[in-house]
């Protein structure tokens, strides 16, 4: 199985632990991942005003790059890239006038893009193409006795027409953890926003959210919280520093990308996990469970 892959900028910098672990796991699963030869930042957020077409260009250009490589779908790992690329794609499909304006602006592009690339998140590929059952059969190191709370955040599940699972009660990450042998832990804050980019100008707000989200997960018995977005990862992991300063009763908890857990279960080596990039060190827990 061959897939075109759009990494986005954060996966090439701060979130190498996300990318390396995903790529190793996909290799083990027999998926041939082809990174786009050319790509640019998607813009991170979808512009919500009706008249702002300019900020959709970055995403459209990436979708043109996919077409240039004769592919009809593209896979993302970052939840923000997924949301932005997919939403821009839906917008231009539904709005021929805007599409025409965008074409006029990008007249140097050789392809007049029509919205016909399918934007998919890795989780969709795993669920629909590879299939969880087949993943379960390939597990080399089951995540036995590991209690994992899966945090979905906002952009994998909202808005409804973009989301890849039920928007109020998603379970796809929990289903994946179950086939890997872990004990999924459900918790009420799994789709509550972490504060996203407020982390730049209001880190104390993010600390409040991190406190509520992680305290809730721990209260349900979680030993680790898994994420699928580099911004969630930063807020829930690195902002635990500010959280601990603000809340004396707060107890730190390791944060892992779901792909790191998948890579462990697929038997990938420790070098693909890049555990050095974490603020809260997940190694003591993983060692205690015999996973590294």
């Amino acid at each position: 199985m061959k897939v075109s892959y759009y990494p986005g900028c954060t996966l090439k910098s701060n979130a190498k632990n996300f990318e390396d672990s995903a790529l190793c796991a996909l290799r083990e699963l027999g998926v041939d991942v082809q990174e786009l030869r050319r790509w640019n930042c998607c813009g991170t957020v979808y512009s919500l005003t009706t008249d702002d077409l300019m900020h959709h260009l970055a995403s459209v250009r990436n979708l043109i790059r996919v077409k240039e490589e004769q592919a009809d779908s593209v896979m993302t790992l970052c939840a923000m890239c997924y949301n932005t690329l997919k939403r821009v794609n839906e917008r231009i499909k539904a709005d021929p006038d805007s599409l025409q304006k965008i074409h006029k602006f990008m007249d140097e592009e050789k392809i007049a893009y029509r919205g016909d690339v399918k934007v998919r998140h890795l989780l969709e590929l795993l669920r629909e193409d590879v299939k969880f059952e087949a993943i379960g059969k390939k597990v080399k190191k089951p995540l036995h006795n590991l209690k994992v709370a899966s945090y979905y955040g906002c952009l994998l599940v909202r808005p409804k027409e973009i989301g890849l699972d039920d928007m109020e009660n998603p379970t796809v990450l929990d289903d994946l953890m179950a086939v890997l042998g872990a004990n999924p832990v459900d918790f009420p804050y799994k789709t509550e926003c972490c504060g996203a980019y407020l982390t730049v100008d209001k880190p104390e707000t993010v600390a409040d959210r991190t406190f509520s989200i992680l305290t809730s997960a721990r209260g349900r018995g979680a030993e680790v919280v898994s994420v699928s977005c580099p911004l969630c990862a930063f807020n829930l992991d690195h902002r635990q520093k500010e959280t601990a300063k603000k809340y004396s009763e707060f107890k730190k908890i390791p944060i892992l990308y779901f792909t790191q857990l998948l890579a462990i279960a697929m038997g990938c080596g420790e070098e693909s996990l890049r555990l050095d990039l974490h603020y809260v060190d997940p190694q003591p827990l993983l060692r205690q469970k015999g996973l590294i």
Partner: protein, 135 residues
């Protein structure tokens, strides 16, 4: 507090502009409050999400342009997916931000961020913050 309602305010260009750039029909809102009930940011808001819509319906331009709420909204879309009338509240929040940003009133002042501030957060945080809070 005395609140003065007037036809003049309600028919102000500001109301039309918010409707146009948010793409929302403000009068569809019947003030049920469901958007505010689920918003994770209400504790820090001065005007609740349903009140933002109400103020916009009534043309309370100054109040909206001074509201802190639009800068604490992180576009998480919880309100949007729950509104029984299909109103996209996050889009209205963005429209109010844009009215200010298009006058080059940046909310996050990039030159004031120290090199340390910038190095301490990942690119994804900086890019999204600048996209939302600068012109």
């Amino acid at each position: 507090m005395r609140t003065i309602l007037s036809k003049k305010k309600i028919r102000d260009d500001f109301v039309r502009k918010i409707e146009e750039i948010s793409g929302q029909k403000l009068l569809a809102c019947y003030q049920c409050g469901k958007c505010s009930a689920g918003c994770p940011a209400v504790a820090e808001m001065d005007i609740l999400p349903n009140q933002v819509i109400r103020y916009a319906q009534l043309g309370f331009k100054e109040e909206l342009l001074e509201a802190k709420s639009v800068w604490i909204c992180a576009s998480c879309y919880t309100c949007n997916v729950r509104c029984p009338k299909g109103i996209k509240i996050a889009e209205v929040m963005e429209a109010v931000r844009q009215v200010l940003l298009r006058k080059r009133k940046d909310h996050v002042e990039v030159p004031k961020l120290s090199a340390e501030d910038k190095a301490s957060v990942p690119a994804i945080a900086l890019i999204s913050s600048f996209r939302k809070f600068t012109s």
